[in-house]
Symmetry: C2
Subunit: 401 residues, 2 copies
Amino acid sequence: MAHAKPFSYEGSFAKGTPPARPRGAVRRGKYDFAVAYPDPASVPLDGLLESLKGALDDEGRDLAVYPHQQGYPPLREYIAQKLAETRDIHVSPDDIVLADGSSQPIHMVCEALLDPGDVVLTDDFVYSGTLGTLRRFQADIRGVPCDDQGMEPDALESVIKKAVSEGRRPKFMYLIPTFQNPQGWETPLERRQAIVGLSQRYDVPILEDDCYVDLRYEGEPVTSMHALDSTGRVMYVASFSKIIAPGMRLGYLTAPPEVLDRVITIKSGGGANQFTALAIHRFSTQLDDHIDEVNDIQRVKRDAMVAALGENFGSEATWSNPPGALFVWLQMAEDADLVSIRGNVLDIYDVGYNPGPLFAPDAASGRNRARLCFGYNTPDEIREGISRLAQAFEQEGVLKA
Amino acid sequence: MAHAKPFSYEGSFAKGTPPARPRGAVRRGKYDFAVAYPDPASVPLDGLLESLKGALDDEGRDLAVYPHQQGYPPLREYIAQKLAETRDIHVSPDDIVLADGSSQPIHMVCEALLDPGDVVLTDDFVYSGTLGTLRRFQADIRGVPCDDQGMEPDALESVIKKAVSEGRRPKFMYLIPTFQNPQGWETPLERRQAIVGLSQRYDVPILEDDCYVDLRYEGEPVTSMHALDSTGRVMYVASFSKIIAPGMRLGYLTAPPEVLDRVITIKSGGGANQFTALAIHRFSTQLDDHIDEVNDIQRVKRDAMVAALGENFGSEATWSNPPGALFVWLQMAEDADLVSIRGNVLDIYDVGYNPGPLFAPDAASGRNRARLCFGYNTPDEIREGISRLAQAFEQEGVLKA
């Protein structure tokens, strides 16, 4: 056996396997505007620990048993109640599947529905994680032009008609109608109705990602797209990542039974993490208060970032002033290239951001745009970081000194 | 929109999507010999809670940050050290990926390597979860005849040669060499060497599942198959499910970098659950002691089950007396059908078991066999449950009164 040659797996991988990608920790800046983290100081550590202690006292022995394949039933009951109260979504706990964050439910839906080449519609710039999953299943991702309310209905109808005329009706459209990532807008009711109407007319289901909905800093909630449809065309995912912590890795999906029956067979790793589900379930009695506290903190951070952009970027850029969530969408002059200077800005100025192409269905558009997240740093750090970003942009020639 | 017709997804599912399967909680007996749970009373609740508290004090704020894609680095360091000390496996923490239980790593390997129709070799009866995953990827699963040491080398060579002669070299073989599930045997060193030799000669990699290795009730450890190969042919998965609790949903994979580079792109749900990883990492300092305690408890349970079988089943059955893990493999007369009576035994006698075909690559063989797990019930319950099982078998005509 000592003489056997090293084995190469290169010829052994399945045909559809995505290409390898570099592993390792992501390099982060001190001023970390790159990733949409919630406020670290307000992760409710004491509340989670007390909650977990209570749950383990009650039923910790059941950790010896494999979790229900759809996840801890009492947490699904809480979610059903929360969805009814806050999103006008009326489903049974049996219509909910818990999974790792929102990314695993999105993965499950993509895997259940997508063959290579299938058309999926998204906003013109949209969450990079979902784009990655769509690419992993070799979807033909088509961005729909958006204004500051979301997809433009006429444009959406054109894109659908074109796909249908090619014999390739879109498998679904993926939308983040509330505090869209990265653009920050909230789709108003009339626009939601128009989009749901097109979904129904053309039989293109919707995957609604509502993971930011609770992070509202002003204004009144707009009902979910799920609530505007009673035909089973809307699947809905959300998560505890942004209102408790991403490290909890717990999110959920509700969808028609025929979809859930399939995604359950696809979900890897068994029923969702019970240790975490126990803690979150018991903590849920405090969750509304926690969300209020977090929003007060994050509102101040948003204001700090928007003000700092005004002071440092003046009239040479435009940016969103989002009513919720964790990011500002920055747009520089058309010829600015925020992709090529990103490494320098991180190395020299310690400021991280994600440039536009990361959010583009074509992976190329939007080199003059960037998402700036304000959840992680303190308001003072945000002011300093934006000042550094402006210096960096001046140094790199994308902002006039 | 009120007039839109209900939408059916039936025509929308991807071609490879597995068929729907019924959802809902699994019905369990009071005498639950069906599933391989560890002892519920010894789930280390206080230790986990204290460990988590310490970890959250140290670095709980980092829950606001998305976990490393391979999972919490200090836990991977602990695993690397544990593998070196106990399994003679010498890998870096960077060669390890944390995931949900061992089932997600197994899923990842299958997804990375298997196209529909690819041949995979397994033992003649083997863990049903892996069979389910192999079927989900439409593998051509071929069982290799086993004796009480594992796959018979001559039989393995024949099966490999046959597949190769068909132009279908097996993509890998899946083995549980230590306390095999469900048969309970431990493959001795010479047999391991013979199997690794065939793996090397015929270029058929091994996926070694070592999730029971720490549950040893007697005898000296046999080194891992991974340690017997230096050519990259052995991938290795294990888990904290059986030594802490399944509800923690935390396991791991180590494999050559070219495999890890691929499976990382396949893993759904982001980096492994950090909340749980923090608790397990801090608890790891107590893990050896905990394993000793648990094994003392589970050894007594095994002895209780084996003794009760002797008292109740006499000479009409044979059963294993496993040196470790959580199950006894029962074999009744050739014509006994333990599949058709299973529902009655559960309903009337409150005793659960899993019959042979659940563990058979062809899903049909072994109707006269059953796996009886002894981890969940107390020794008294085990004695009562085995007595009831004998009564039930008599009533159903598969055991003489």
